[in-house]
Structure formats: structure tokens, C-alpha cells
Symmetry: C2
Subunit: 282 residues, 2 copies
């Protein structure tokens, strides 16, 4: 028997589509319903077998759901969850896949008086620099980390079920408060994006013929969608600014050692970066 009789996914892009494929392959859900604004695109996903049926109205799509995944852009998550709660059964679990958590969880909690459904925030650290359901894959979450972010108001059973859901898709689950999550991803995800983008922008056309794998690796994430990253940076502004300041301090130390010609200090700083990079691996 699947963990959830009906799984409804709001926003079937790369993440929503991969959740559908993984839930199907691993028999985690009975019926899988896709909800979105483009009936033609969704109908195509039904004919491919990714979805069982589609709904273009949120109310229709979640009315009999046991689990709803809100996989919309991050700035629409809180209001979409609020809308889901108006139409979903009282026992329905709700989670999201947003890259920031504090503001989303706070808004959902603030709007949840008397409404239906148990919301627990999630952030799967999985993806691709390409977006769109056509790049979905059933193994997207295998071996990846999903952060689940309960707060003081979360129902323990709901938290446990959401954690089990992600594990069933092959992920490793880490629980953190929404604030801890946002501080951590500012350093591990948002800062690298800002740095990669500035690095790409600092590379004038005339030197690009000398680009090799080092530059390509270091700038790779800068190919991410600009509108999506704009939202992420703004949704996590204080943490991103703090992360940038932390980075700038380290880069300033390196610059000072180079400027002073202080080889010993320079090597010590580079060895520290290498130690941390080696400890993470891959």
C-alpha cells in the first residue's frame, strides 16, 4: 500500500516532475495529480505517464489529496499553501520545495488559524542548472540531502511523515529550524551563486578563449535562471549579506598576502581552503 493515496503537485517543473517520477517508481503514491496553469503542457505529462491526471484549478486538484507538494517559485509558496489549505481535506499534509524557509514558514503559520492541512517546510538540495519538467528524472533525490524545517507549531506526526516521504524517494533527511536552514544555505548555496555570477561578469570577452575547466567549474552555477535567483537572494537578504561579508573577509586576507608578497601566509590561507574542500570531497 502506498504511503499516500493521492499526491498532488502544484507546479510541475524540474523538481515537481522529478517528485512525480520518483514517487511513481518507488510506489510512494497511488494517484499523482499535477496542477498548473498550462493545460497543454500538463496533458502531455499525463500521456508520458508522469501524471495520472491534471487540474488547472487548485481547489479541484487538492480536494481529495493526502499530500500536496507546493513546487511553485519561492515567492508564491506561502500564498499557494494558504490557498491549498482552503480546499484540501483536514488530514492533508502539505510541504514545499522552496530554497528559503524562514519567511515562508512564518507566513504560513501566520495564515493558518482554523484552516486545514498540516504544513511542514522542505528544501531538497537537488536540482539542475536546467529547469522544466522535461529535465525531470526519477533519481534526482537519490543520495541528496533534503532539509525539513519544523518550527514550534509543527505537528510531530506530520514532520515524521514528511521526513519518511523524502527518504522513500532516496534522499537523506536533515531536520533544522527555518532560521538555521536559511543561514546555512546562504553560505553553501546563495553565496556560491553570487560569487560565480560576479566571476563570470568579471571575465571580458577578449580573454574567454583562455577559459579552462577551473573557470568553468567555478562559474557553472551562474547559468542558473536569473529571475529565480533574484527571488532567492531577496527572500534571504540578511543571511546572504552576512555570508557575502564573511567571504569578503577571507578574500581580503588572500589579497593582502598576495599584495605583501607574503608567501608563507598565502600558502597557509590556500592550505586552509584546500583542507576544507578536501574534507567535503567530490
Amino acid at each position: 500500500m502506498p504511503q499516500f493515496e493521492q499526491l498532488s503537485i502544484v507546479g510541475v517543473g524540474l523538481l515537481g516532475g522529478s517528485i512525480a517520477l520518483a514517487a511513481r517508481e518507488r510506489r510512494v503514491a497511488g494517484t499523482i495529480v499535477g496542477i498548473g496553469r498550462s493545460p497543454a503542457k500538463l496533458a502531455n505529462l499525463v500521456s508520458q505517464g508522469m501524471l495520472d491526471r491534471v487540474a488547472t484549478s487548485l481547489a479541484d486538484g487538492v480536494a481529495t489529496a493526502d499530500l500536496v507538494i507546493v513546487a511553485t517559485p519561492v515567492d508564491l509558496v506561502a500564498e499557494t499553501v494558504a490557498d491549498v489549505r482552503k480546499s484540501a481535506p483536514a488530514s492533508c499534509l502539505i510541504t514545499d520545495v522552496g530554497s528559503t524557509k524562514h519567511d515562508i514558514v512564518a507566513q504560513v503559520v501566520a495564515s493558518s488559524m482554523g484552516s486545514h492541512g498540516q504544513f511542514v517546510g522542505s528544501h531538497p538540495l537537488a536540482g539542475d542548472h536546467r529547469s522544466g519538467a522535461e529535465f525531470s528524472r526519477a533519481n534526482l533525490f537519490v543520495g541528496r540531502t533534503v532539509v525539513v524545517t519544523p518550527d514550534a507549531s509543527s505537528d510531530a506526526e506530520a514532520v515524521s511523515q514528511i521526513c519518511e516521504f523524502w527518504k522513500a524517494l532516496g534522499a537523506r533527511v536533515v531536520e533544522m529550524s527555518p532560521a538555521e536552514h536559511d543561514q546555512a544555505v546562504a553560505l553553501t548555496s546563495h553565496l556560491p551563486h553570487a560569487v560565480a555570477s560576479a566571476l563570470a561578469s568579471a571575465t571580458p570577452a577578449e580573454v574567454r578563449q583562455l577559459v579552462a575547466t577551473g573557470w568553468s567549474d567555478t562559474t557553472r552555477v551562474a547559468a542558473g535562471d536569473a529571475a529565480l535567483w533574484r527571488q532567492i537572494f531577496l527572500a534571504n537578504r540578511p543571511q546572504v549579506l552576512a555570508a557575502l561579508d564573511q567571504f569578503n573577509q577571507h578574500l581580503a586576507l588572500l589579497r593582502a598576502a598576495i599584495e605583501a608578497g607574503d608567501g608563507a601566509k598565502l600558502e597557509q590561507l590556500l592550505a586552509e581552503g584546500k583542507r576544507i574542500r578536501d574534507a567535503v570531497g567530490n
Copy 2:
């Protein structure tokens, strides 16, 4: 008939070893001689078939060479080339694989009065974050760029032969002056390394469990050898400092847009980084 009757390689690490393997496979050289300080290690490379014979004295190893590749650490290149010139035949071509070019070429030119051999600097944009002859491979240069850096004193025929040599190993050759080269690689190689290192160092242990592919890509080059990179940064100091300043300006623009909550400006900056990254590809 091979392009060179005898190829001698001074310093048989990842690059020197890969040149030996590629020259053998592509029949670019008749006899391949390795020169280094560790007879046991070199003898092992002979028994593996990478080298035909070894020499622990530079004079012996280059006495009958047609082409000498100096693949020592960058701070030893100029003096090694000067030593090669004392013992090599007058017609012998000499190149190197150093990551910086202006100082090396200037020192070689300054020391070349009346000595033998035609030196033309090279920088293969190929490598690995691992070092050592055991990671050598015959296809290391295939499809990669090698920058050849003649100056006003270079012999045109020598430049042409060095270019042909790299092309014969499968590389794409770009000619640039030593100064142009150093300015370009400061932006495309040295700056990414500094940024990756600072980014790794700015990541505290407690958040590393949330590291995903974005962080891993952006910091990958920070795993490079600290002693080697110390030399590269110091050998190219003014250009690296200028590249860091250029980067800092772009990052400051991003930071200001985030701090001001200026979504339109932020998206414009991110789109510019994406445009450049997409143009390079892979």
C-alpha cells in the same frame, strides 16, 4: 619520421608524463628521455614504457635532444632553461609549461646571450587537481588550448615548430605575448582559484552537511596544491591584484542590489553573469 628525434622532459609529473605518453602515442618523438631527481621513480616510468631512458643529470639528459620541455615548478623554469642551454645542441628547441609567462620569458631572454637553443614559452591549459606522473594520460591535451608566447626576440621557425608540436598532441594553439597571456590567465585561472579558496574557507564546519553540487563546483579548484598556487600568485602578482579588484567591483554591485532590495537591478546583474557563462558553455 617523427618531428623530433629526441624529446627530453625535465620534471616528469602530471604534465611531463602526459606529454611523454601523448608524444609516444602520436609518434611525435623518436626517443623520449626523462630527467628528474628521483632515479627510482623515473626507472619505474621506463619499465611502464612511458620513457625510453632516464637521466638524473640535466647535462646528460639534454646533450643530444632536439626538443626539451621544462616541466618543473614555475619558480624553477627560468634557471632550468638557462642550464639546459649550457648543454643542449645549438639547434635544440626549448619550451616550458609554466602557468605564468612574462617573468619567465624576460629572465630567459636576459640570460640568453651567446647560449644555445631556441626558447619559446608555452602554457598548456590542461591539468588536473591531482598531481604526479601516475595521473598522466595520453589524451590530456586533446581539445585543450595551449598558449604559445613568443616575444620580439623569438625565432619565427622555432615558434612555428613549438606550435606544431602542441597541435600534434591534439591541442588548439593560441599565440599571445607573454604580458597578454599573464593578464588573461589572471582572470580566467588565478582569480577563480583565489575566489574558490576564499569560498571554501568561508564555509564553517557546521553548515557543510548542506553542501550540494553548486558549492562543490564553485570550490573545486581550491583542492589544488597550495605550494604550487602560492608560486603562481606571486609570479603574477600585479595581474592577479588587478583581477581581484575587477571581481570585487562586480561582487560589490551584486551586494548593493541585494542590500537595497533592488530586484530589477539584481536580476539584470545575474542575467549578465548568465549570458557570459552560457556563451562559454559546458
